[in-house]
């Protein structure tokens, strides 16, 4: 059997093993690189940075565990930034799994890193409501129609920071973390466009290319996948050097990510070389 044939008939499981190693080895050796923020991400950072202290920011968590490796770093970085700037954070979820994901960020970032933040005046967890885009449509007109209580069950009128919120138009900015449907697209269609509210957010890399047509007119900015998260972290570190010592998850993970990309590209190239050699030989035979 020739080398070409051997290469063409490699067992799938060997390839599985190689890609696993391409991820594990850089992870073990902690390989990481410098990040340079692109404008589409920087604009979100600048928005949160430039809003006056105490601005009301809506943070919808529309993802579940399956995409958390991409979206949790973004949610962490943005929430951290909002805490730093003393913005009021309103956390909600269109995905049932989003409520649990939001809790992780609240516990780790807000309660963990900023213990002086007071629930009800600095941040509130409104939780999940059913309806998807129907829910966005409802709260665009009247938020308290659906959100009669927050997630732990307190009456909405007893929460100080809810007193001057009637509907989505009362928010200075909506920054969403979305894994698909319903997600950032629906926030643009049902909140941003009809309500004239600045919308931006982070999405999985899968849906990022599909959302580019909304940028920059209908959607302020976007963090696409882990790379977007890493860029946001880089902006944060740049602005607040005290975070240089803090573990930046997305930046750390971008190392293995880059190596795995290289391996995939090498696979495609080898695959195509064998394909062309094979084709040439068949032509000769034929």
């Amino acid at each position: 059997m020739s080398v070409v044939e051997k290469l063409g008939n490699v067992d799938r499981r060997i390839i599985f093993l190689l890609i696993a190693l391409a991820v594990i080895i850089p992870l073990v050796f902690n390989i990481s690189f410098m990040e340079h923020p692109t404008p589409i991400v920087q604009v979100i950072f600048d928005k949160i940075e430039s809003l006056p202290e105490g601005s009301k920011i809506l943070l919808p968590f529309d993802y579940g565990p399956s995409t958390a490796p991409e979206l949790e770093p973004m949610a962490t970085a943005v929430t951290r930034h909002c805490c730093k700037k003393n913005h009021k954070m309103y956390i909600m979820a269109l995905w049932p799994t989003g409520q649990a994901q939001a809790l992780r960020v609240i516990e780790n970032v807000i309660e963990g890193e900023f213990p002086d933040k007071v629930y009800g005046t600095d941040y509130v967890h409104l939780g999940y409501k059913a309806g998807g885009y129907g829910l966005i449509n409802t709260i665009l007109a009247d938020l308290k129609k659906m959100y009669t209580t927050d997630a732990p069950g307190t009456h909405i009128d007893e929460i100080p920071m809810m007193s001057d919120i009637q509907n989505l138009r009362d928010f200075a900015f909506i920054c969403n973390f979305s894994a698909g449907f319903p997600g950032l697209k629906e926030w643009v269609q049902f909140a941003g466009d009809p309500g004239d509210i600045p919308v931006a957010g982070g999405t999985t890399a899968v849906s990022a290319p599909l959302l580019y047509p909304y940028y920059p007119r209908q959607m302020l900015g976007m963090m696409g996948g882990l790379k977007g998260a890493a860029e946001y972290e880089a902006s944060l570190v740049h602005q607040y050097p005290e975070y240089e010592q803090v573990y930046q998850r997305a930046i750390a993970i971008m190392g293995p990510q880059a190596i795995a990309h290289l391996v995939i590209i090498i696979f495609i190239i080898i695959g195509n070389i064998t394909f062309f050699i094979e084709k040439k030989r068949q032509k000769k035979v034929g």
């Binding site: 390839i15 809790l103 998807g132 290319p209």
Partner: protein, 226 residues
């Protein structure tokens, strides 16, 4: 009556919502709001329907001893266990008050220990299949496929930090060939153009389908009963 009433419901609801877009006056504005709330609530019944269906399918499987029927017990037991600890907020705040996902509750524990790793791992399997397909299937068979792969290469390299080290040495006049710059340009211009053409096409499709449904030319809810 079985056929006519659903058609009337669809027509009234759909038309009211479209009119509400142009008529802000009551009752249209409040109709839009209330219908949205109703929709949100009915969505929960759809979850219950999903749970009920699941239970039925797996009970039938066990009853008829279909392929892999013993695993259906795993599904049913998992389902019922999760349901009970969630509905009774076991281990959570006192009584039935408070958040069902509160720290320390069994439901939260099951989410973190079981649901979370299962869902996350399910999706991560795909990375392996992507790698294997990259090696064995993605071929530049046609001109179209070649363009696709080249564009994919630029993105794959350009969207990682390595892209920078590939071409940072380029002179100023050729800076536009710097891979990260090129990757950003592809995303911002040709990708936007292509996605926009697809988006406009899909929008027209959605508009046409919605219109057919509202006017009763299309009746998906009747077909779904066969």
């Amino acid at each position: 009556m079985r056929r006519r009433i659903p058609i009337i419901i669809t027509f009234v609801v759909g038309t009211a919502l479209i009119l509400a877009m142009f008529i802000p006056h009551t009752p249209f504005s409040s109709l839009d709001e209330n219908l949205s709330v109703y929709f949100d609530i009915i969505a929960v019944f759809a979850f219950i329907l999903g749970g009920g269906n699941l239970l039925r399918v797996h009970l039938v499987r066990i009853q008829r001893k279909k392929v892999d029927w013993p695993y259906s017990f795993v599904t049913i037991i998992g389902f019922l266990f999760m349901l009970i600890i969630g509905f009774f907020k076991i281990g959570g705040p006192p009584g039935l008050t408070g958040d069902f996902l509160a720290e320390g509750s069994w439901f939260r524990f099951m989410f973190e220990a079981v649901f979370n790793p299962l869902q996350a791992t399910m999706f991560s399997l795909l990375a392996f299949f992507v790698a294997s397909a990259a090696y064995r299937a993605f071929r530049a068979k046609t001109k179209e496929a070649t363009i696709l792969l080249i564009s994919a290469f630029i993105i794959l390299v350009g969207r990682t930090p390595i892209g920078h080290y590939f071409t940072f040495w380029l002179p100023k006049q050729l800076e536009f060939l710097h891979i990260p710059t090129l990757a950003n340009w592809i995303m911002g211009w040709p990708n936007t153009a292509g996605q926009r053409a697809i988006m406009i096409g899909i929008a027209l499709g959605v508009i046409a389908t919605s219109l057919r449904i509202i006017l009763g030319i299309e009746r998906p809810y009747l077909g779904a009963e066969k």
